[in-house]
Amino acid sequence: MKRNGIFSKLFLVLVFAFLYAPILVLIAFSFNASQSSSVWGGFSLQWYVELFQDSYVLEALQTTLLVSLLSAAIATAAGTAAAIGFANMKRRARTVCMTVNNIPLTNADIITGVSMMLLFVLALGALNGLFGGLGLRLRLGFGTLLIAHITFNIPYVILSVMPKLRQLDPNIFEAAQDLGATGWYAFRKVILPEILPGVLNGALIAFTMSIDDFVISYFTAGSGANTLSMVVYSMVRRRISPEINALSTLMFVVVIALMVVINVRQSRQDRRIQAAIRAERRADPRP
């Protein structure tokens, strides 16, 4: 087969250029001294400084971190428990559950967002109707935002923990019980450590997804809470400010960093498994 070395390389460069040029422009302009988004006015960190003096942004940062950490933690616990339940089902039931689990992942965010908003409004309306006499006035806000994030994070955790559970020796839980462990002790000392890499990866993915999300947050937070991505959006609508560039750059860097951590962890695990398999192959089969 003939190889068009120069053309294939050029093509690759073009693809990456299209992918990353907008982000590079964004990052470049976040350091622009000029207010304009088309003229380079020299290097400056002024937008970053302004960003960190903007109480509106700082408040949103706090909300984002709180929602991301809380939802990641709760979704990790719930998702791990669910994955263990799935793994112990019969094949048929498990397949059904995994399919149901995967549908929200492929579902458009806007549909998830709108449907959750509808559900929350309905539920809050009912609660307010029931307990209105007691002075209860529930509205969309941090609570609903958190519930929404937990909900869309759980499938990612399940997806990340499941393979680890499937790799487990089918008798490992029984082996621990057989040696005198109660169910809970066996889970803590054997099952959890064995699947921990999957659990931690799930937590990281959930955290990243949470920081990253705009659409679902936009519909479920109401006017009660703002996340960073919502701040970016509202900034664009109010006034074009280079602060947006700085904020977006920071968010991009954080998410990229997390993705790198996740990928490095994953490939290190894979390598470790490969190395273990190689070691076993090399080892003399006779004792």
Binding site: D169, P170, N171, I172, E174, A175, A176, Q177, D178, L179, G180, A181, T182, Y185, K189, V190, P193, E194, L196, A276, I277, A279, E280, A283, D284, P285, R286, P287
Partner: protein, 393 residues
């Protein structure tokens, strides 16, 4: 010595609508090496899991040392299990794997303030170390404590699993096809090793396998199972020499099983002829199954034979030839060191102790005819088995 330790009384087990165990009655003596032998799906593993406490029988009782233990959870039973795929804890090193049970178990000590009461304390660290080292030495793995599970070969992992179970000094060790994943040579070594370990620690072993040779080599008692029922219980010699029905005769070793009639005590008829044998106790002219082991048949010149037939297939097996001989449409397997060419007319002679007579059973007519025997078929089978083994790695 032979004190009864475990008793399964009328154990019945149903899973969905499948009967897994069909009213099993079995007792197991202290310090005995007992093997549950049968093809896959015969209920042998379920029986083991009932003793281990991982499954409850649908009906029937399990007794341990005279106490009913149906509702005792696995972690409170004085039995330990070696699982088929070892089920080692890969996040711990070898030492911690073996120490796992010791770290959980609390031992009773007299309370210093009140001698009448006992307190339960953790096993002290130095005792854990001593006992783990002892257990590792028992399975020839001294000095492996700091190694990781994944750096060990299959055979070594198997030994760790045995050490991890035995270190808790159980009264009974349950072994669920522990050698199934090992290659043939290693499996033979481990059979001898297991027998040595059992004699050294002096506890009851209950061993599950589908490999008849393994069962005969190691066991004091063999329990042959099929379709959720116990077919026969006996010593390896009993099972081989005096099979109770066609299933047992066919499953343990090779057998020619021929329709016959017991004319009177010590005279069996088949092919319209009478043969002297050593069995008795049947009704006059009772129809029976006649078992003749392939190695108990002598080939003689045609005119001297009790029966005559035609050689249809010869396979060289190393120590002997497998010869298939057609006796009026029913094909026998004969194992002999003498070569006979295909197509030869030969006679056979069977000594009276070469016959084993069985009552007719549900399995009559299902086994013991070598018409479908083919060496090619054997090879195909082995290839398939190897492919399966490969998949598991």
């Amino acid at each position: 010595m032979s004190k009864e330790l475990i008793r399964l009384s009328d154990c019945f087990m149903k899973f969905d609508d499948d009967v897994i165990l069909d009213h099993i009655n079995l007792y197991i003596n202290d310090k005995e090496f007992l093997t549950l032998l049968g093809p896959s799906g015969c209920g042998k593993t379920t029986t083991l899991r009932i003793i281990g406490g991982f499954q409850k029988p649908t009906s029937g009782d399990v007794f341990f040392d005279g106490v009913r233990i149906n509702d005792v959870p696995p972690h409170k039973r004085k039995v330990n299990t070696v699982f088929q795929k070892y089920a080692l804890f890969s996040h711990m090193n070898i030492f911690e794997n073996v120490a796992f049970g010791l770290r959980i178990n609390k031992v009773p000590v007299p309370d210093p303030s009140d001698p009448k009461r006992t307190r339960y304390v953790k096993v002290p660290e130095e005792e854990i170390k001593r006992r783990v080292d002892e257990a590792l030495a028992l399975v020839n793995l001294s000095g492996y404590g700091r190694r990781s599970v994944n750096s060990l070969s299959g055979g070594q992992q198997q030994r760790v699993a045995i050490a991890r179970a035995i270190v808790n000094r159980p009264q009974v060790l349950l072994l669920d096809e522990p050698l199934g994943a090992l290659d043939l040579k290693l499996r033979k070594d481990m059979q001898i090793e297991l027998k040595r370990i059992q004699q050294q620690v002096g506890i009851t072993f209950i061993y599950v396998t589908h490999d008849q040779e393994e069962a005969l080599t190691m066991s004091d008692t063999v329990v042959v199972m099929n379709e959720g029922k116990i077919q026969q219980i006996g010593t390896p010699e009993d099972i081989y020499n005096e099979p109770k029905n066609a299933f047992v005769a066919d499953f343990i070793g090779e057998s020619n099983i021929i329709d016959g009639v017991m004319h009177e005590d010590r005279v069996v008829g088949m092919y319209g002829k009478k043969f002297p044998c050593l069995d008795g106790g049947f009704a006059p002219n009772e129809p029976v199954d006649v078992v003749i082991r392939p190695e108990d048949i002598d080939i003689v010149p045609e005119e001297q034979g009790q029966l005559t037939g035609t050689v249809t297939e010869v396979t060289f097996k190393g120590m002997h030839y497998d010869i298939i001989v057609d006796f009026r449409g029913f094909k026998w397997l004969i194992q002999t060191t003498d070569f006979s060419p295909v197509g030869a007319r030969i006679g056979v002679k069977i000594d009276p102790d070469g016959f084993h007579i069985m009552k007719k059973s549900a399995y009559s007519g299902m086994f013991g005819d070598y018409s479908s025997y083919s060496s090619e078929y054997d090879e195909l089978n082995e290839d398939r088995l190897e492919a399966e083994d490969g998949d598991e790695e």
